[in-house]
Symmetry: C2
Subunit: 549 residues, 2 copies
């Protein structure tokens, strides 16, 4: 049972959860399985792999208190505990029974579906077709591309038994599909007329990670992986850049995450790629999250797998390739960019529920009028294409519901009470601005006025989330001109940006000494002459250094 | 390398392919990897597992002739070779490198996407949410439900090594998810207020099948699996019936497959279910295909996993459950229901391309006028929501294109030549009716007239495919009153329908002696008193017997 995580008896609530219990509002109950194992105020590593690796080395048990009084750990107190609490309380995900695996619950999956819906359209618009490659890859395939095997072999899951028999060749459960893709491309590509070949798949992948964290790094995760083959290096480069740009646009416009797009250093380049482009996002704790990558694979895989085509002059050539991916990790990025002490905060464009309507009544007499108004509001908003839900459960108080839907990050709340029905108006509250400043009172129930108001507020929130995240990001990036300045910035938890032309060895030294890595050489580069902050030599580019997930 | 299938040098074209080479039309080239290994007219078992199992026991090689002259094996000559040829030539799928695995190519995947799009909406309308469960299941889970382990243990793929280390407990790559679902449901369900719990996932599953066939039975396949938990048996039963009805409606209305819905016999019931409902489709060779199933799981898994809830009276009860699934096998069912010697034939409602436009010109002068007309037609049809594609490649003749898009099963073809441009009219050809009777000449290019014509023809084709399949099905089901009659019907390749109340042992005897199994006790039952054709005892129901995939 060593690979298993037992049920969560040992996952206790932290005393810090009660910090907000003095709040006047009744808090929603926490999900009974909490990701946080924080205990007695001690800063336990909450990496979710540790529970099983340590064979349930349960902390001394204080009485679990899962219930109405529970609240999430404040973000400022313990960012990681907050993250795990939000995931549990907003019902985004849960642990799977196998160490490091995650069950994506309906609300978390709906965010992933929103990501899929947007990207799937963009992929098709840019000429890609979906398809599906098998997940079992012969072990020998992985060995064909030298740096690929070096990068991936430590984290492979291997199937060795099938149908009750030991297999002659072990099968790799795909950690990524470049090898099997090339095996197939070699059979499909004959001449320049077969190029470009541009495909994508939505799939699960497995990487035997030792330190896992829900959404951010799990043993199995969901992603899309695009794979393309081209006749020239230039076309492949253009494609790799185009796809990182698709990701960047998605991040800004839909997820309201102001990622920095750029090129990875040699050290950080994908195992098997010539160049890796990345979008790097600053989380609420100022750590960097690599939120998507696009690789120019050059001819590395086509040479390893003999993927050739006959060009227009009759010559045999190896194809030039790209691959690019975004995964369920992005959901973690959304949580850690926008969330606050009250829970999740979702950008309207990817929120599964954009508007929650809470009916309020005391006297039973009022119920009919309120519910009639609520039904009509819901229909009006639905007809306008707004994702709306009514919480009409009678077991919970309005205050409990307010908190619950704030925890779930729903952008707008509409409250409807008997007086609102009389006045033909409602109160509309923004999730992103607490208290009175976030409320619009007396919003007319008249359909077109209401729809206009809601749509415009949703746009405001979308914009406001992006602006807030951008300000936060910009105020936490420090321009450095010396290694000492970099050390200081990193020690303060910030990102450091400075000219860099030093060696791979020096890059690794920075990592060892500060914990920071080069996140990217951003596409946006300052003008003028630059000197490497490490060596004093001329530098072509600035790099961004940061600690990362 | 025993588990691998080498590239397809040994997959030769059958001499029977040349049967249609006398056709006046130039045939489209076959995909270079053919599923058919038919050879020298000998009836080789084309089960696609055999190539690798037999370690590429290559037939003596005649010169491969993959090219313009190639054609698919006629359906009447060899149904299985025809099926594999169509899959290769229409570019629906290809072999994966691991025995029994399949690569779903873009055109095949687009059919699966059409199935997904329809069902996904229906699942949500009926109150289900999508989510995702991990694919690795602790081996001990599988052992918890007695009949489940008996049914599935022979076909499990096991991960025994992760991250370079032997695992303490083997992990099962999910063959289905009831066990892990119940493990999670047990954590989420506390009281009757948590019920019903209704979820679905779109996922890959693995079953170590020995005899595989593209789409129909592959080592890994894609499917959706719905899982629900209810407070009462009645609710679970209603849900199981509701979902088989969703599948039935999809089959009739979208896929134009007149399935017969009913209940499985005890012998054929899912491992772990109390009752299994099924939709059974008759393929072009009159074999039955189980195209979707819905299980009433009773309390089997909830008892094995302790999935309990507190009911309204405060009593602890085990939940009642269902699960239901449709897989990529359905794509195989579509191919084998509607296809003919010219290739695939797709019902318009699930066709990735509904209309193919082929421009025709000889003189270069004509090109501009024809292409302008074609562009305008394409825009008009697109704007009307019709899935249209223009084949304007200059490397192929119109005749080649006609054949190619017939092979791909596109329901309608529009030909546009210089005279059509002058006359402001086009020729519209139906895929389902060959030659002149299937052509409409002089169809006006005027947008609204054209759109009306195309829409109405697509509806005609949809209806005609269903009618044709229904007639075929009905003319191949024989009502039997004795075992001798059943034997005769089965020997003729037909389905036999007759009253049945005999034992499981007798059911197995029928299978041994005739190769036929009970496909279902259809929901539609004849009136009146019945006597079991095997025993002469009273029988409540008729059963349908058939050979099956």
């Amino acid at each position: 049972m060593g690979a298993l995580r037992l049920p969560s008896l040992s996952l206790l609530l932290s005393p810090s959860r009660s910090i907000r219990s003095s709040s006047l509002r009744l808090r929603p109950p926490l999900a009974t399985t909490s990701f946080s194992a924080s205990f007695s105020g001690a800063s336990v590593d909450r990496d979710f792999s540790t529970h099983s690796v340590a064979k349930e080395a349960a902390p001394p048990q204080s009485k679990p208190s899962l219930g109405q009084e529970g609240s999430v750990t404040p973000r400022s107190v313990d960012f990681n505990a907050w993250y795990l609490d939000v995931i549990a309380s907003a019902e985004l995900a849960d642990y799977g029974p196998v160490r490091g695996t995650m069950v994506i619950r309906p609300y978390g999956y709906a965010i992933w579906e929103a990501i899929q819906d947007y990207l799937n359209v963009k992929f098709k618009e840019t000429g890609h077709s979906n398809m599906y490659f098998p997940q079992f890859i012969p072990y020998s395939f992985i060995e064909k591309e030298a740096s690929h095997v070096e990068g991936f072999s430590p984290e492979l899951a291997l199937v060795t038994i099938g149908g009750g028999k030991e297999l002659e060749e072990k099968l790799v459960v795909r950690p990524t599909s470049e090898t099997i893709v090339n095996h197939m491309f070699t059979q499909w590509i004959h001449s320049y007329r077969d190029l470009p070949l541009m495909v994508n798949q939505w799939a699960n992948v497995t990487r035997w990670e030792m330190r896992t964290k829900p959404f951010v790094r799990t043993l199995e995760f969901l992603w899309q992986e695009g794979h393309t083959a081209h006749a020239t290096l230039e076309e492949a480069e253009k494609e790799a850049l185009q796809m990182i740009d698709v990701y960047k646009k998605f991040s800004y416009e839909e997820a309201a995450i102001p990622v920095i797009a750029g090129r990875k250093s040699r050290v950080e380049t994908f195992a098997g790629a010539d160049r890796t482009y990345t979008i790097e996002a600053m989380m609420g704790d100022r750590k960097a999250l690599q939120a998507g990558t696009s690789h120019n694979l050059g001819q590395n895989f086509s040479r390893a797998f003999g993927t050739q085509f006959t060009d227009e002059t009759g010559q045999r050539q190896h194809v030039w390739q790209t691959s690019w991916a975004v995964s369920t990790r992005f959901v973690g990025g959304i949580i850690m960019t926008h969330g606050d002490d009250a829970g999740l905060m979702l950008p309207p464009r990817i929120a599964p529920i954009q508007v929650i309507i809470v009916p309020i009544w005391k006297a039973a007499d009022d119920r009919i009028g309120v519910m009639a108004a609520v039904d009509s509001l819901q229909n009006v908003l639905k007809a306008a294409g707004i994702k709306v839900k009514v919480d009409d459960s009678e077991q919970r108080t309005p205050g409990w519901k307010f908190n619950f839907w704030e925890m779930k990050g729903v952008p707008l709340r509409i409250e409807v009470g008997p007086r609102d029905v009389t006045n033909r108006s409602v109160v509309v509250s923004r999730r992103d601005i607490p208290g009175k400043p976030g409320k619009d009172f007396g919003v007319s129930m008249e359909p077109s006025a209401l729809v206009d108001h809601v749509k415009s507020r949703l746009e405001d929130i979308q914009e406001s989330l992006l602006q807030r995240a951008t300000s936060f990001r910009d105020s936490n990036i420090v321009d450095v001109v010396s290694y000492a300045e970099l050390k200081e910035a990193i020690a303060e938890g910030k990102w450091a940006r400075g000219p860099w032309s030093a060696s791979d060895a020096e890059e690794l030294k920075v990592k060892e000494e500060t914990g920071a890595t080069i996140r990217c050489f951003p596409f946006d580069q300052p003008q003028g002459q630059k000197k490497c902050f490490m060596t004093g030599n001329p530098a072509d580019e600035v790099a961004i250094f940061a600690k990362s997930y």
